[in-house]
Symmetry: D3
Subunit: 238 residues, 6 copies
């Protein structure tokens, strides 16, 4: 039995509120249960130096946890003067995940930055961020297409992410904080609609996987991402 | 006529949603019109070094603007590796304002940090932050008193803040972004319930005040803060 | 009775030594009693990026306290690798104060930086800095006009600053360190010759003001600034 | 045909030179073909603050690329004043991988730091680093056991790592720089002797995996790690 | 003929004004011609960690150039967030020079920091700083001895420094800025009263020395330091 | 008798292995006994801003000690976020030494960076670095000349460096770590083939030199550098 009473292959409630803030070209509050992440997509008509003259755009991400998003207050990165390794690892993952489904030629010479700020954390902040970032990016690109700045859709596939783990010997989907703290293993999967894998980040400090274990987690991830793809579709249609 | 259609002495709608996040001892989302600031109050059983052995507590604040809280994206302070002068100025002001109404002996040897993160900006973020921070602090102290850790109330007076300015020659209350951008002068008042002034920060890059002008702004600030005190009382009463 | 034996509306001795150093376009050592600040005005034929193409100049300031300007040694900001919030707050105030009296169109596309380095501190370093900076700026602009680089005087009004406070219940002018340490309230006024207010920064951690108290401090500030305007005029006439 | 002429499941030459430097408790130069990493294991009789009083030790890692380890010179992180996200991601991975096979209770209250400095890079620096770090750690623990400071062996299993990828549609083992630059997908596997998975980090910016693809890469990784385990055994015996 | 009209072995006017500021235990303004450096000696009853339990004291130095001490404004190190290599090199040299004449056992467990801030630069700022720092240190130690905190004099020898160089083929003493800019070689000598050498830092980017050239510069340095020793004695005698 | 059994004027074994790494235009591992430094010379077709338009090139150096190059582990500068004063002092010395023998006009508008990374330290790392850097620079310039990018040799003289000191009252050449730790004085000489001095850095925290002492150290340095010049010639010919 899971602490939350959920079945092993059961996601938490997914809630994606679009247009949560008014200035960004795309903006959502994405909730996986009590994990709440504000994602904004900002379009800027400039590109990073390494892309000069290639006729391509760029999608990047920044991630941050508000100091009291967690049980005890963490120190503010801006006050300490640097981002932690964890923060950088996560924002690089988010950026790669979204770039995996974006056609940079079709986007054209502009940059979209996905700012993912965790308002409240209860496990799975990076997977919620990726899943919400797709919606924010979708909204921003819809705006660009409505303005005629982009003519062919650069974002034809959805991407979503979910964490899976082995808790008390049982593979489970979408760990919350309590499960995550005591789980033997923790894997984040980033999947693309249609069955492809964009990223796997599977870590076992305590326990270890074998091939069969990895596959069982991957299958749970498919179930979870299908739920998220449906929520994304509804949010965009919304 | 003001761009918003408000009368010169009319505040924007004030909304203070308590318990907006679940981990902090006190948490509010405070809205002055479209300006939205998340404030959390975090209690820690430790004090800064300069207070060691004095039997007193401390109240401090940190402030940040999410990168896309504004019309165009600003760079993230954590990524740049330092806080701007503006950020530091504002967080110092918030801290002083709340300390002005807190009895540090009664609080005892603990620190309360008020994290003010601007979700959406439309003028007056520092005044909304101070006004909301009082509610978050009140909630945190209520918790400490309910737990018996604090026995005498260290927070017997309310504090609130509002900006005033001179727009098109007319003194006006609670400037939004459009008014603020074109105002001749800008003054932030931090007032304590019962008629006292905690802070005045009046700046005139373009125009200048005279004594009468300053008093007219101060009187508008009293009207605004009375409105905020009422909203604070209602929010705490819940 | 004040610790210094001064009357409540009595300034400390004001001394403004021009051309204290030889390289800067304008340079003064300004003393308010034992508070001594070296201010240099440096003209550079470049402007900050946000002014490109506007045909305007810029005036900005930097402030620093030498490590042993104070009773006990403070750590050196350059060695720590960052400026404190207090430093940034003060240098922003100095810059705004001088910009309030400078016509940027007449200055033309150049930047003048006012470096204010506190040699010895005894209260009121920021107000002495602003008052001295006006003289340094005046000297630098005189040089530009003598060189024919500037044809119409961009600096037709004086600006000066002074601190006032309530000590032992009595409003007093130009607090020195001893008074400042025990004062109930502390207010810095930046005034423009002719009766206008450029900035008010009034803070009350311990006590609070009411409207009447604020006005009494403002009236003391007028007395003090008139003394400073006279000293500035004499220094420039020098 | 691979650019190097290797078969798809063929590793580059593995060379592990022990005691490459003389001061460290464990030291190796590990070479995977032209990729050369110097790894030192440093024992310190102190533990990080979060382990105080738990009776446990800690294993951590730091990673760096010499500026001219690569085709073109990269800027030195010490000169820029911060480590890149890539560096932090890699050193966190190395640390977790070695902790996965170390019994911290048996290690006792001491810390071992694995410094991995890339002398020459030709693809797979992180996997070479992990594989070499195990040998350096083994040597350092041998020293501690010989000194009687550690009585029960905390390191009873080997860990090794290798990269796999899909190049021209074919899954291949141990990519060198040329293959890595053009590969459709890139996956790093950290495996524990006996068949368990410690970490999987599979990324697909260009292409994507499916379940079968992931399994094929995992099977190649098993072949590669078996080769590395043999080289580690020989180096330690050596 | 030298630009200043001085003879090759002629120092600039040396002026050492004691008690230039009032808070420091020792304070001087030292002038070598137009080079003016404010040096304060601050006594703190604490020692750096590496001296814990050795019963010894420490003498250290910090150096800074005010932004407009020079012909054109240099950027402020505190604003840039780091000290230049030149600054660090100089402050390390000053510290070593003063430590060379201080008996740390007799000083006892306390630290004296010599802050050297260049008010105006015209060549030779580091040598003026060392020469003035000896006087500030002497004054601070006199205070400690008068207070009975130090009983045996830890500073029985004087130390002074001067720069020499080869200008237009002629060895010259105490270069000012104009000479320094065009000199073929530049050497700083730190000498101890009685004929000993504490430090030599001789650099030749353009030209090179031979043994005879080095000796001729050293002999000039002796002449210069004898002048400085006399000025130091007179300054302390008051 | 020296701890190493060497005669007072005897160098340690000098070993200069060329082409130690494959990407750099010049690369050597230079060993003075157990001191081992990897030096790479990187050619970049760009120049620093202050040389724009002068038709000249630039040679610069960076220096770093691997954390466990020493007896106990030192912290990594990249992780701390800044280079120590010692590091900056050394890399500035290396750069100046190599520039002293390079004709920047003949080099043309390009920059060569000499990265000196200490693999193992046993005294004299900076002098080994300078001596090895000359070989790396020579190899890089040979490459440029072979490519026809440089037509006249900009490097016609050798430069080498060695440390000397006074140990137990005896002047000795090329101190290793044990001697260096207990030596009364320490001097680094950078000499140019043919008898010229490029740099002298002589420091005496404990003891002091007189003129005769300095000359005796200089004469030892000549003996040592002659040995190094021979080793450099052999390495380049090799």
């Amino acid at each position: 039995m899971r602490p939350s009473g959920r079945a092993p292959d059961e996601m938490r409630a997914i809630d994606i509120i679009t247009n949560f803030t008014k200035h960004a070209e795309g903006s959502v509050l994405v909730c996986f249960g009590d994990t709440k992440v504000l994602v904004t997509a900002s379009v800027e008509e400039r590109i990073p130096p390494f892309l000069k003259g290639k006729g391509e755009g760029w999608v990047t991400a920044e991630y941050s946890m508000l100091p009291r998003a967690t049980h005890t207050r963490g120190s503010r990165e801006a006050a300490k003067g640097k981002q932690t390794g964890r923060t950088q690892e996560i924002q690089r993952l988010i950026g790669r995940s979204l770039r995996a489904v974006t056609d940079m030629k079709k986007l054209g010479e502009r940059q979209i930055t996905l700012d993912c700020d965790v308002i409240q954390a209860d496990g799975g902040t990076r997977t919620a961020a990726i899943s919400g970032a797709w919606v924010a990016l979708r909204l921003a690109i819809n705006t660009l297409m409505a303005q005629g700045k982009v003519t062919e859709d650069p974002l034809t596939r959805k991407v979503a992410a979910v964490s899976c783990g082995i808790a008390n010997g049982v593979p489970v989907l979408d760990l919350d904080y309590i499960e995550d703290s005591s789980a033997d293993a923790d894997a984040n999967f980033v999947l693309i609609e249609g069955g492809h894998i964009a990223e796997v980040q599977a870590t076992a400090e305590g326990a270890t996987y074998d091939e069969e274990g990895l596959l069982r987690l991957l299958r749970l991830a498919r179930i979870g991402c299908d739920r998220i793809f449906a929520a994304q579709a509804k949010a965009v249609a919304g």
